[in-house]
């Protein structure tokens, strides 16, 4: 059965059809939630909430976009809500400078010694996924919103209560921080950038 058929059945109240839609989309939705909040239990809860919202919103779902696009968007929204609530709770703890210009990652000692470490694409993807998990929340969240949810700068600013300039610079710093993590873990380097001194300069 196509997604469209499942959607029309679900709209007519067929829970079995909706369950199939859940099964078809659950990994994507769960992955997005996990990458947003970096906690498996929370991610499962938020992903389920997104599907619940989808069920509630189905009667009005016009099919202007595919169900999978729509549920992805709902998941983003549910996660953003969660992050905003969490942010407020954590604000007292997070008085440490969020924009970590001063922060440096230790440079890997064997930076140059291993020129054949250029990873295959699949391995790089996995490394990025892992690296993402090690990023601090404020870096990971903007990157996921931008790269996975495809939100505009404006939308991200709106979601996180940041001005456009801060969104731009935070995304740039997050990319830089992710790159640093990948290098530090020794699973990401490019032969073309082979001068550690350059790294120091760039911080």
């Amino acid at each position: 059965m196509t997604e469209q058929e499942l959607v029309s059945r679900a709209k007519a109240g067929d829970q079995g059809a909706f369950e199939q839609l859940v099964l078809d989309n659950q990994n994507r939705v769960y992955s997005l939630a996990f990458r947003m909040v970096n906690d498996r239990e929370e991610a499962a809860d938020l992903a389920q909430e997104a599907f619940l919202k989808a069920w509630q919103g189905l009667p009005a779902f016009q099919g202007g976009s595919s169900f999978s696009t729509w549920i992805y968007r709902l998941t983003t929204n549910v996660c953003i809500d969660h992050i905003r609530k969490q942010k407020r709770r954590q604000e007292n703890l997070a008085t440490l400078s969020l924009d970590d210009e001063e922060r440096t990652w230790p440079e890997p000692a064997d930076w140059e010694q291993d020129p054949q470490r250029r990873l295959e694409r699949a391995e790089l993807n996995r490394a990025v996924a892992r690296g993402l998990e090690s990023l601090p929340d404020h870096h990971r969240q903007v990157l996921v919103m931008r790269e996975l949810s495809g939100l505009s700068y404006q939308e991200i600013g709106h979601a996180l209560g940041l001005d456009l300039g801060t969104v731009k610079s935070r995304i740039a710093r997050s990319r830089l921080a992710l790159r640093k993590i990948l290098e530090r873990e020794g699973n990401f380097s490019f032969p073309s950038s082979s001068n550690p001194a350059v790294e120091k300069k760039r911080r």
């Binding site: 859940v22 992903a47 919103g57 976009s65 929204n77 830089l176 950038s193 300069k201």
Partner: protein, 333 residues
């Protein structure tokens, strides 16, 4: 160094396809003479590309089943039955209380001439219309979900799923109309109730909103306290204005707790409940918070004192509620 930091940002903005022509020129010029930044560009592009190909993580065992259970729990509604239960009709019993509140409210607001005592009949007609208007308002959470249906790729408003568009001007009008609606529900029970009931049954369980840190503060009872609507406070100034309604009570701790930083992301739901007895306690109903309505459960002990009491109820909500927004207060039972 500063220059390269500028370059990092431009590279990042380029990946997002947001460079202006001038910035693109600037970046190209810099890349042409800075091999380090060219290398950086390559690396950041590789990371950007890797995002597109990230593997999905498997959802935990029983995930879909869990969703279906939650759906079942939701469709066995927790909000609607309130109106199906006999208690809904027993709202008639509440009528006296609400009428009293309304009366007090009116006494405190002489500026509402169309509520003059001689116009009872026309007011009832008006209140039916208002009740209908209020019903439409209650649908807001559903509408807000509907808003997201139309999005294609880059969608409109990132908090759209939970935040309906909001027109403060319209809300101000509705504050008065909501007062009428409460009156209609509680005094015209026999006729208005089936209407409400049918309307409520027609739609699926409305999605409710989360609240936290609800607090219940007894304040000095005064005739002019308005218990018909809750309001969303969005800044320390609005909180201060609101608290000014309770001149005899020391509520300074609230102002200290809810400062500028709280309101950056949070909002406060504030309402007053007046009771003929101080021994009646209250609780915001679990799943009782909708975009335009909040349900307060009354906990009435077997024996009550007969002192008049007023309670200030506050709860933290998120910024999906707009400051200045008013919500109808439904007392249950």
């Amino acid at each position: 160094m500063e220059h390269c930091e500028r370059c990092t940002q431009l590279l990042s903005v380029r990946l997002d396809g947001e460079l202006t022509a001038r910035e693109a020129q600037e970046l190209e010029a810099h890349l042409a003479r800075c091999p380090e930044c060219r290398a950086l560009a390559e690396e950041l592009e590789a990371i950007h590309a890797a995002f597109l190909a990230l593997e999905d993580i498997s959802a935990p065992e029983g995930f879909a089943r869990g969703v279906m259970e939650r759906i079942e729990a939701e469709t066995t509604p927790k909000v609607i039955p309130l109106f199906r239960r006999p208690q809904f009709r027993a709202l008639a019993g509440l009528a006296a209380c609400a009428a009293l509140c309304l009366g007090l409210y009116r006494a405190g607001l002489p500026a509402l001439p169309d509520l003059a005592a001689g116009e009872q009949e026309s007011m009832t007609v008006a209140s039916y219309a208002a009740a209908e208007a209020a019903e439409e308002k209650v649908e807001a959470p559903q509408y807000s979900i509907a808003r997201d249906m139309d999005m294609d790729g880059a969608a409109d408003d990132c908090k759209g799923a939970v935040t309906p568009p909001y027109d403060p001007g319209e809300e101000k009008e509705n504050l008065a109309r909501n007062d009428f609606a409460l009156y209609a529900m509680t005094t015209a029970d026999g006729e208005a109730a089936p209407k409400e009931k049918a309307a409520l049954e027609e739609r699926a369980a409305p999605s409710h909103y989360a609240f936290s840190n609800d607090q219940y503060l007894r304040v000095s009872w005064r005739e002019e306290l308005d218990a018909s609507a809750a309001v969303i406070l969005g800044s320390p100034e609005e909180l201060a204005d609101y608290l000014a309604r309770f001149p005899g009570d020391d509520l300074s701790a609230l102002s200290e707790n809810y400062d500028e930083s709280f309101f950056e992301t949070g909002r406060l739901l504030a309402l007053v409940v007046t009771e003929p007895s101080g021994s009646i306690r209250h609780e915001l109903a679990f799943q009782g918070l909708l975009q335009d309505q909040v349900t307060v459960e009354r906990l009435v002990p077997e024996e009550v004192t007969d002192d008049m009491a007023a309670w200030l109820i506050l709860a933290e909500v998120d910024a999906t509620f707009s400051a200045g927004h008013t919500l109808k207060v439904v007392l249950e039972p």
